[in-house]
């Protein structure tokens, strides 16, 4: 599903050039659950941003389902993103002014799904995430675990082929963390490909494979399953 080769990305300030990705190459097959680990600043988040089509690489190739997408323009990237990719962030990134239902509904609105269908799809996913009873609450009225469940619900509501998770349990206690990891595992078992950036060895053990990064490069790959 994902094949990147020789991917490069660097950030420049006036004085320093920081290489975030240094000719990085790897592949993720459809249905895989891959963890990306490494110390802070090793390029994990940059990688996730590029995989999520939120950022451009400076060089190299990125094949998504066999299509070269590295140099897609903003409009094409947005279109590909909203149809195929779901995001789960460490800080949940829910919109404070919208209710749980409205937050989850948002990707469907941008996909142009009609009202009644939207309602039904949101309800199905909220039910699945066991958060239906909180549908009319605002994010700040929920616990961290509940908020992340909403975020996961929002990530899967448009049935994406790929979920990118950036430290999904980073802001959660262990029991809530485990719950979220179980949700991701269930999704993966139902066929969704997952790439997760994490600092937690515990969380990484839920995945099939761990890619360890240092200074913008892969150092090792551990196959867990």
């Amino acid at each position: 599903m994902i094949k990147i080769s020789e991917l490069q990305k660097s950030y420049r300030t006036e004085e320093v050039e920081t290489i975030a990705l240094n000719r990085l190459s790897f592949e993720v097959k459809e249905g895989e659950f891959v963890s990306v680990m490494g110390p802070s600043g090793c390029g994990k988040s940059t990688l996730l941003n590029i995989l999520g089509l939120l950022d451009d690489p400076d060089g190299g190739s990125f094949l998504f389902n066999g299509t070269e997408v590295a140099h897609f323009n903003e409009r094409k990237r947005a279109d590909l993103r909203k149809r195929n990719i779901g995001f789960v962030f460490q800080s949940f990134n829910l919109i404070d002014e919208l209710t749980v239902f409205e937050n989850v509904e948002l990707p469907l609105i941008y996909l142009g799904v009609k009202g009644p269908e939207r309602k039904q799809r949101v309800e199905v996913v909220l039910d699945k995430m066991q958060i239906m009873h909180r549908r009319n609450h605002y994010p700040q009225q929920l616990s961290g675990g509940q908020q992340q469940r909403v975020a996961v619900a929002r990530a899967v509501v448009n049935n994406p082929k790929l979920i990118l998770a950036d430290e999904p349990t980073g802001n959660l206690d262990s029991s809530n963390g485990n719950e979220v990891m179980q949700l991701l595992t269930d999704l993966n078992e139902q066929g969704t490909t997952i790439v997760m950036v994490t600092h937690s060895e515990h969380d990484a053990r839920y995945s099939h494979r761990i890619i360890r990064m240092l200074d913008g490069q892969t150092v090792t790959e551990n196959i867990l399953v």
Binding site: L54, R81, K82, S91, E97, Y110, R154
Partner: protein
């Protein structure tokens, strides 16, 4: 530096764009509204600077119910002083034609100088002061003159004029300059350029009450009253004027008849705005304009204050945390309110310093764009600037009040923990309310500007019943006497000239001529506006004959012929006008379509053309082409026929002068509407930047979830557009009502159509969309991922 103010200054540095927008808005608001306050104050206090202004009044007359004249009879002053117990003193001014002034026989003349001829009492009634020389309290001696500062500068530059001689008029009579009148910031309906002595010999015919020539002013005794003066004038009318009129009807009938003479007493302090009198010394003020601009001044400062409140409370989360912490450490609320008030006052004083410069810039821009000075230069370091200081202090306190109480009223725990403004809901409601008020003001002013401009355009283009374009007028050609016809023939030989006409009166001119007309069927005569003209008038002016024929100089009978306009036909009750006989022997030979001869405020009234070849004005219709060189030639040629240069003007200008007040009103309202729009736009820019900053994370999330640019644009703009729509719902009906009230002053007016509403709404929405769109697109140019990192 006061420690309390340091956070404010740091915040200024930390958010420079925000702070500059706020400071800029407040400066513009203070400057513009201060100018308008000074302007209104100056207009309202016109003539009040004269000592005992409330005891001075002008006596005007009304002949034959023609409407008030500013001038009255020359015998009135002596009678009033001797006979009216309320009167302390009387002075009369004679203002005749413009004249020329020379420094020596060899030097070129300064033309178009309007002298006021004054009597011995002038300075006892009007407390003028001298900036050079000294005021002769007992009046000017023969051969003495006094100049205004402006004229002194014009004639003598920077040299001292006192003791110098001026040669005045075509006879070049020498006059010695004895004083220069001090010109302050104050305004007066009297605008003397040059004062000359006037002999106060008794009028030749003291029983002639039908002729008025002097501007007569009385100063009442401290215990005297206008009512007392009016009572005396009424007695004069009954006991002296009525008997001398030779009327055979009763006094009551006479007062209602077309032979009546009456008086109008105007207190000095109301002459400026109450300026319907004919032959007034100055065009006078426009009360509508002053009231409107006073209102606009309040609206402008309101806009600036709202900007301040909105921009300060928009950043409440930042300042509220500081306030919360200070409260936690025991600062009483009053201290914090004091701190925030000090901040806003300091801010306002800073804005005042900028406003001092801006005032000059705005005055300059106003004069540059409208061609008319609004107030004249506001003297620097004058008392006005003390008012500016107080005004700015008040604005600072007013603007700071709500933010101070709001920020210090939040619970400390909430504000310290909060990283966003969520939970500060009531604040955003108030802010939305204030933004709506701003939209209401901007929408209302734009609508009114459009209406005023449409009316001006209508007045300019309205069919006046003749073709006023391309007609040049040569006025005051009486001096040519018999040579006028030769002059006319010479002009007609020019290739640029299509036709010419000699006449005594032109539509739109200042002069008044009313004659009495009566048909056999009428019980009493009717006074009707009359135009003595030659037989080429109708074709030259471009009037339309709807019945009968034009005058013919070869028909001796036409000296007794009349041509009526349609209103005159109706007023005289004629069914078959051509051939009718009026006044026993005057025959109607034609009818012209109604034509405007006065301002469009007045409905077209009856008017009659009668044959005359007496020269006063020569009207020239041009063919077009090389007008400038023709006018040049005309100026030179006319001097060969008459020593006093005739006045050359365009007929269109006559009508433009009649609409001068409306033109100035239109320019004033649009100028300050633009300023109001700038202020509201600044506020909108600030709030949009703030909204985008606050919603940056949300924008990022939405973009990640697939929102397009237009989705985001829609998100940010919808809240403002909703407020703009609510504002229009309030502003448009109110301003429509106001505009209609103003339009009702015109006999010929536009009716406000849907287009004006549409145009106003379109302009406001366009500005709002442009501001919000540009700022949103700028924000969107940043990577959405970065937005997610702003936490």
């Amino acid at each position: 530096m006061n420690k309390e103010l340091i956070p404010a200054l740091r915040s200024f540095r930390k958010y420079p764009v925000f702070s500059l927008i706020n400071l800029g808005g407040l400066s513009i608001g203070i400057a513009a509204s201060f100018i308008l306050l000074i302007y209104s104050q100056r207009e309202f206090s016109t003539d009040r600077h004269f000592k005992d202004a409330n005891r001075i009044a002008r006596i005007g007359t009304d002949f034959f119910h023609m409407g008030p004249f500013a001038i009255s009879q020359p015998q009135l002053p002596l009678l009033a002083k001797a006979g009216c117990k309320d009167v302390e003193n009387v002075t009369s001014i004679s203002i005749e034609d413009k004249t020329s002034v020379r420094l020596s026989t060899q030097e070129r003349a300064f033309n178009d100088i309007l002298p006021y001829s004054i009597d011995a009492e002038f300075f006892t009634v009007f407390s003028y002061q001298a900036s050079a020389g000294s005021i002769p309290q007992m009046g000017l001696a023969p051969g003495e003159t006094i100049l205004s500062e402006n004229s002194a500068h014009k004639f003598f530059g920077n040299t001292d004029p006192i003791g110098k001689t001026l040669l005045i008029g075509k006879k070049m009579t020498p006059y010695k300059v004895v004083a220069v009148l001090k010109e302050g910031f104050e305004k007066s309906h009297l605008e003397p350029q040059l004062l000359l002595p006037r002999s106060t010999a008794a009028p030749a015919n003291p029983n002639n009450w039908m002729s008025a020539a002097l501007y007569n002013y009385v100063k009442l005794k401290p215990q005297g009253s206008i009512a007392g003066l009016n009572a005396w004038l009424e007695t004069l009318r009954r006991k002296v004027i009525y008997p001398s009129s030779g009327a055979t009807i009763s006094y009551q009938e006479w007062t209602a008849s077309n032979m009546a003479v009456s008086f109008t007493v105007q207190p000095l302090t109301s002459i400026y705005f109450d300026n319907n009198a004919k032959f007034d010394t100055s065009p006078g003020g426009n009360l509508t304009q002053v009231r409107l601009l006073s209102t606009i001044s309040i609206l402008l400062i309101l806009l600036a204050i709202i900007n301040y409140i909105n921009l300060v409370t928009a950043r409440a989360s930042i300042r509220a945390k500081e306030m919360g912490l200070k409260k936690t450490y025991g600062a009483p609320r009053s201290t914090l309110v004091g701190q925030l008030l000090k901040e806003s006052i300091l801010f306002s004083l800073l804005a005042m310093l900028i406003a001092c410069g801006l005032i000059q810039v705005i005055l300059f821009l106003y004069q540059y764009s409208t061609g008319a000075a609004l107030t004249g230069p506001i003297p620097f370091l004058s008392a006005n600037y003390i008012w500016l200081l107080f005004f700015s202090l008040a604005v600072g306190a007013l603007a700071g009040l709500y933010p101070a109480f709001y920020l210090t009223g939040l619970r400390p725990l909430l504000t310290i923990r909060s990283t966003t403004t969520s939970g500060m809901g009531s604040n955003s409601h108030i802010r939305n309310g204030l933004v709506t008020v701003q939209f209401v003001i901007a929408t209302g002013l734009v609508f009114l500007s459009f209406v005023v401009y449409s009316q001006l355009l209508y007045m300019k283009n309205k069919d006046k019943g003749f073709q006023s374009e391309g007609i040049v007028l040569v006025d005051n050609i009486e001096g040519m006497k018999d040579r006028a016809t030769t002059f006319q023939q010479l002009i007609e030989q020019q290739s640029q000239v299509a036709s010419t006409s000699i006449c005594e009166r032109i539509p739109g001119s200042k002069g008044v001529a009313m004659y009495s007309y009566r048909t056999a069927a009428m019980p009493k005569p009717l006074s009707i506006q009359t135009f003595p003209v030659d037989d080429r008038y109708i074709s030259t002016i471009g009037m339309h004959l709807s019945d009968g024929r034009d005058f013919n100089r070869h028909l001796a009978s036409d000296t007794n012929a009349l041509i009526l306009n349609e209103s005159a036909v109706a007023a005289l009750g004629l069914f078959n006008p051509v051939g009718s006989v009026i006044n026993g022997s005057e025959k109607v030979i034609g009818v012209v379509k109604d034509f405007n001869y006065a301002s469009l405020h007045e409905k077209i009234g009856p008017a009659i053309l009668r044959y005359s070849t007496r020269p006063r004005t020569l009207a020239i219709r041009l063919r077009g082409g090389n007008t400038a060189s023709f006018l040049d030639w005309l100026g030179r040629a006319s001097k060969d026929f008459q020593t006093e240069a005739p006045t050359i003007s365009f007929l269109d200008d006559n009508f433009a002068r009649l609409a001068e007040k409306e033109r100035l009103l239109g320019q004033a309202i649009s100028f300050f509407t633009i300023l109001a729009i700038i202020l509201a736009t600044l506020g909108l820019i600030g709030l949009t930047i703030f909204t985008i900053e606050r919603r940056m994370k949300e924008i990022g999330i939405r973009k990640v979830l697939g929102a397009t640019r237009s989705d985001i644009l829609n998100l940010i703009s919808s809240q403002f557009i909703r407020l703009a729509a609510i504002a229009s719902g309030i502003a448009l009906p109110v301003s429509w009502w106001l505009a209609n009230r103003w339009l009702n002053n015109f006999a010929y007016r536009i009716s406000i159509n849907v287009g004006t509403f549409f145009l106003t709404e379109a302009l406001i929405l366009l500005i709002a969309f442009a501001v919000i769109g540009l700022l949103t697109l700028r924000a969107l140019a940043a990577n959405p991922v970065k937005n997610l990192r702003t936490e």
